[in-house]
Symmetry: C2
Subunit: 393 residues, 2 copies
Amino acid sequence: MASSETARLINRSVVLDAIRTNQPISRADLARQTGLQRSTISLIVDQLIEERWVAEGDVGQLPRGRKPRLLYLNMDRAGIVGINIMPHVTKLALADLSVRFTTQESMPTLPNPKVFLEALCARVQNLLSAHREITYEGIGVSLPGRVDYLGQRLVFAANLGWRQIDIKGPLERATGLPVQLENAANACALSEVWSGPHEGLRDLIAVTVSEGIGTGIIANGQLVRGANGAAGEFGHVCLDEQGPPCNCGSRGCWEVLASNAAAVRNYTCGISENSGKRNASGRRELATSFADILSLADRGDLKAQETLDAMAHYLGLGIAMLVNGLSPSVIVIIGEVTRAWKRVGPIVEQVVKERARMDAGTRIVPTDDTMQPRLRGTIALVLQKHFRPRLFA
Amino acid sequence: MASSETARLINRSVVLDAIRTNQPISRADLARQTGLQRSTISLIVDQLIEERWVAEGDVGQLPRGRKPRLLYLNMDRAGIVGINIMPHVTKLALADLSVRFTTQESMPTLPNPKVFLEALCARVQNLLSAHREITYEGIGVSLPGRVDYLGQRLVFAANLGWRQIDIKGPLERATGLPVQLENAANACALSEVWSGPHEGLRDLIAVTVSEGIGTGIIANGQLVRGANGAAGEFGHVCLDEQGPPCNCGSRGCWEVLASNAAAVRNYTCGISENSGKRNASGRRELATSFADILSLADRGDLKAQETLDAMAHYLGLGIAMLVNGLSPSVIVIIGEVTRAWKRVGPIVEQVVKERARMDAGTRIVPTDDTMQPRLRGTIALVLQKHFRPRLFA
DNA sequence: ATATTTTGTTCGACTGTCGAAATAAATGGC
DNA sequence: GCCATTTATTTCGACAGTCGAACAAAATAT
């Protein structure tokens, strides 16, 4: 069911998104870029200025003719709250419309979801009352688990041991702001196509490598959530029928072979086999975390390097699966392993080349973890509703 | 860029598709179903009748009040040509708007693409001139290979040995009709959501099992073609690193483990190992085709049954991958193997249950091959343009 | 000063939907 | 047969939105 108002909504979001991604920009340039008439652009921009989404700035420089008035997103218009729940730590942030963080905080993720949620709500309320100068539009939450397809409830989070938790309800009651939940990998994928070098890509996959492996899929420019939001568990695809058991009940899952946890397990098993290894300085070292393995490999520990190589091999095998099946333009890798990409990357590329046809030229790209893609994704999640509303399926 | 005309186009296709899927239907019911005003429905229907897409039929029966005039799709309005190119045989058909075949023919698929294309064009021209009473809207072509993302060229077809063949051009020049190419598995998936029990499903995967394995993915109601149309090759995902070599250069690909060709290979190897098997009547039998294996298994041949069981096991493993990763509402299995689904189905279900979380309730459904899903898909492919035009990404 | 160029606005034409009222057609009770 | 009731369809004026041409504004070059 569409009317002239539908047309307005479509054009409005086209113009708003064009301003977002091209600011500063003049009305005339907007007309050229969107294909709309200059008169129409003026009307829509007037409306956006009235709603305070857009602000008029200085005049631009041109060689000839009347100088254009440049348009910007009005950063004072709204802030967004981002919450990234991870197995041990939860991060909170306030961001503006260009996904710049103005405040960041951390808190422990408590094992009891009820207790944790109470603490989280209090923390968010504090944060909001400390920054009353800006009105906040909404809260985006990313977490390592499955969310139902409307972003309403957490259905299952293996690494947290949580099941059927209503996170949206308490947060909305505590803050009065609309809350959107999303799986962490999905949030990362969204973040990638929202801004930065992969902005606007219509086929992209984000692979999060930490304790497990998650996949966020964007196809035809939309997140693939599957029936009831259960898509994205490529981490539990069986790549080796006789492989080690996984806590999902299967064995040889991709994430049992290629996650950080897998690397730690492999490394410590190796140590017991070889009854200890010595590093360059002669001291025996035990890796208790994946970070340890990374630094050990860096300092020349052969066993750690082999562990990474094996991880890279299996990463490649799973990525080849994604390339074969979905052929995205880009696959983004997220996680600590990217810090060793100089070593890991070539192995991944090699395995993918052997196992997948790369005609479509899929690029495999590590992400800078300091960009906090999970957190940035939560912001994109909320902004999406305003800037790219899904008007028609 | 949207205008009031865009709104019209949207509403027009909404109404047309509602008539298609609910015919016969009255204007008043259309208004109730689409949410448009009765007056608007009348205007749009007038236009559709003028364009001869829709025809007014008899009056319907109601307990009280004025009787409605029922609307139908006008079957005389247009026909569609469907061409399904398979490794040995190519099928041609003429169909009406409700995807009923009015004519069907077959011809051999010749190894030389140039020669074959000439023969195909001649055949289509014959077919069209023999049925001049109806004007044809377009030609849909399905083939076992990859097509670039605009449906323009065949990029690569392993089983045919063809590469970079322009199929669209010659056919369009020969007939003057617009031609749409699509990968066979994609065509099947489209056919499934176009009509029949899975009509309108937004997340569905079609798995074609023949010499290879193809996957056609529909997510968020749209075909997933990937960058440059290269998606859908889950058949070449490596499920066993040490598995048999595949002609794609890798080894242990799903289709090397679970296709018809794999079954034939396994069966004949088994025969050479056991130096021959005897069936119930005591005669030694050699399976030269997958159909042989099916009938042998049916007649109690143990080795054939074991072969099918192994095939089922690997089919399940690959399907579990699709369930984990994409979680569609339905996975449709297409191919001769469905004829033995009574035996194969339970094994597949069992493996999927062990290897994938089925929270979302994905159903695995064999398709009746006599429905010719590949051919039906080509028709849906063409009709899609008229009935569900993609106005906005 | 004046012509030129480019930006931004104004206004009437056009397209399309909405919603209320009018018209059409059928049933059932009197 | 006549009238109230019900449901379907059409008619028509109001409203929203874009288009496109004309106009006004602002800056530069001559």
